[in-house]
């Protein structure tokens, strides 16, 4: 019949539109990765990841930038994870569904919308100058941590929301207090999903350039940090430097792609580790 045919036709048009669009998204991802890997894999070697930069950063390795980025990831998570999780718990478990909760949520969302260069300026004003940390891992980590906070808060809230209320009720019904219930039941159950938030924020933090520009990143510093008050090189900033203001931009081109490959690899490896932890916890705390 005519109308049946029309229905089938419009169905398949919709289906194919959606399918092609989602394949296109995947295509974009793979082209970016492919492009970078093809251009950069040639310079990646053991020396590249374990040696200091040489000859005006046109030769040698990017070892200090790798270590710097790892320091900044660890530092920012150390700061953002506990504070973000505690804020998420407060918003979801302790505030009622009221204008106050919605206001706090709105402000958290707004924090996520602040451009990263503004975080950078704020970090410089507060941590570097006002609190006197100087250009340092501490100032950079705190700035990046602020940037990661909204994601951690939001995912904590969502993870808590996903837990069936009957588990909370069961705990209260046994005479447990709210804090005991959070500590022993809800938080362990929410942890796998909270770790997803951690993965997302690691991805974001490791690639940011603007927040570390004025707070920690060094243009050229061929040595490793010895304290949290030291400056470090960092992969995204190093990439920016050798692509725009290095001593010899044309000659550093291969180094730049190699740096991008390493940055992607670090994010990938950290994601895999976090995923393994998440799977382990999901198995441990899964409900039917």
């Amino acid at each position: 019949m005519q109308s049946d045919l029309k229905k089938i036709l419009s169905q398949s048009i919709a289906f194919w539109t959606f399918r092609i669009l989602s394949l296109a998204v995947m295509g974009i991802l793979f082209s970016i990765l492919g492009f970078i890997i093809v251009k950069g894999i040639g310079v990646v070697s053991w020396d590249f990841i374990t040696k200091m930069p040489e000859d005006g950063m046109t030769k040698g390795g990017i070892y200090p930038a790798i270590i710097g980025t790892l320091c900044l990831i660890a530092g920012s998570m150390l700061f953002a994870f506990p504070i973000g999780v505690m804020s998420g718990i407060y918003i979801f478990e302790y505030t009622k569904d009221s204008w106050y909760r919605r206001f706090v949520q709105l402000m958290t969302a707004n924090l996520a919308g602040v451009p990263s260069i503004v975080f950078g300026l704020f970090g410089m004003a507060l941590f570097v100058n006002k609190l006197g940390f100087g250009d340092s891992i501490l100032a950079g980590s705190l700035t990046l941590g602020l940037l990661a906070l909204p994601v951690v808060i939001r995912t904590t809230e969502e993870a808590l929301k996903a837990i069936d209320n009957s588990y909370r009720e069961a705990s209260y019904a046994l005479g447990a207090t709210k804090l005991q219930t959070i500590k022993r039941v809800t938080l362990p159950m929410a942890l796998p999903n909270i770790i997803t938030g951690l993965i997302l924020s690691i991805g974001r933090v490791s690639g940011e350039t603007a927040p570390i520009l004025f707070t920690v990143a060094a243009y050229f510093l061929p040595k490793l940090p010895t304290s949290v008050f030291d400056q470090v090189m960092a992969l995204p900033y190093h990439l920016y430097v050798i692509s725009t203001s290095g001593t010899n931009i044309a000659e550093s081109r291969g180094m730049a792609y190699g740096t991008a490959v390493i940055l992607i690899l670090i994010v990938l490896i950290l994601n895999i580790i976090a995923n393994i932890i998440r799977r382990f916890l999901t198995k441990k705390y899964k409900t039917n």
Partner: protein, 250 residues
């Protein structure tokens, strides 16, 4: 003295009048069934006695709820202490994603009991009371999630018994279970009556008939009729009760 009493209790959810002037008195060591169509207020009434309704925003409660003659809504009552004396079993089996042992031990641990031997003893006693011990004694360290639905619900009963309550509230405890598991739970309720005062909400009329001594019929927030189960099921006074139990509405 009655074990449990409600005196002219009114409960509002915001503008919704959910319980309308409920008066009821329940004897010690009896099973009372609460029946009625969905939304009639029977679960809300049940949740009065461990103050579970307090968790909901915008609830207003008037009147008196007494356990052992004491008003459980008075300021001198600590809510955590009340809930230690009043156990609850929920509609859907909801064991914590912990081991069988830790589920039963949970109530003891959150109440500050750390004595290892005592906890082990209590866990065994409660699992036996809940008729689950023989099935799980070799897998106490295994996750409770690996048990069947019926076993999980009996585990939840054991969990509720661990803190030695004197009252047990059951909110449709068998509605998510198969007939064999249901029969086991009903048998269990019958046995537990000697030790506890039990209130059970049920949609299943036969179940109310089988397990309870008294039955209360709720309709639109009112307690229509409260009498011995035998009387309610053979010769109810109110025509609405009669219509409901004969299946003319509900």
């Amino acid at each position: 003295m009655y074990k449990i009493e409600s005196k002219n209790v009114n409960l509002h959810y915001g503008s919704f009048h959910a319980l309308k002037g409920i008066n009821m008195a329940i004897e010690k060591n009896t099973v009372t069934a609460l029946i009625g169509p969905s939304g009639c207020g029977k679960s809300t009434f049940l949740r009065l006695f461990n103050r579970m309704n307090d968790l909901i925003d915008g609830v207003k409660i008037e009147g008196e709820c007494l356990i052992d003659g004491k008003d459980i809504y008075s300021k001198s009552i600590k809510i955590d202490d009340l809930r230690k004396r009043v156990g609850m079993v929920f509609q859907k089996p909801n064991p914590f994603p912990k081991s069988v042992f830790e589920n039963v031990a949970y109530g003891l641990r959150v109440n500050g009991i750390t004595h290892k031997n005592f906890i082990e003893e209590r866990v065994e006693v409660c699992l036996k009371q809940a008729a689950l011990w023989d099935e799980v004694k070799d897998k106490l360290k295994k996750s409770a999630m690996a048990l069947s639905g019926g076993q999980q619900q009996r585990l939840c009963i054991a969990r509720a018994l661990a803190i030695e309550p004197s009252v047990l509230l059951m909110d449709e405890p068998a509605s998510a279970l198969d007939p064999i598991s249901t029969a086991k739970i009903e048998e269990l309720i019958y046995d537990l009556k000697n030790l506890y005062t039990i209130i059970i909400v049920t949609h299943n009329m036969q179940q109310a008939g089988r397990v309870s001594d008294s039955t209360a019929f709720f309709y639109l927030g009112e307690l229509v009729e409260f009498d011995s189960t035998k009387k309610i099921f053979t010769n109810p006074t109110d025509v609405r009760t009669q219509n409901y139990i004969t299946g003319r509405f509900g």
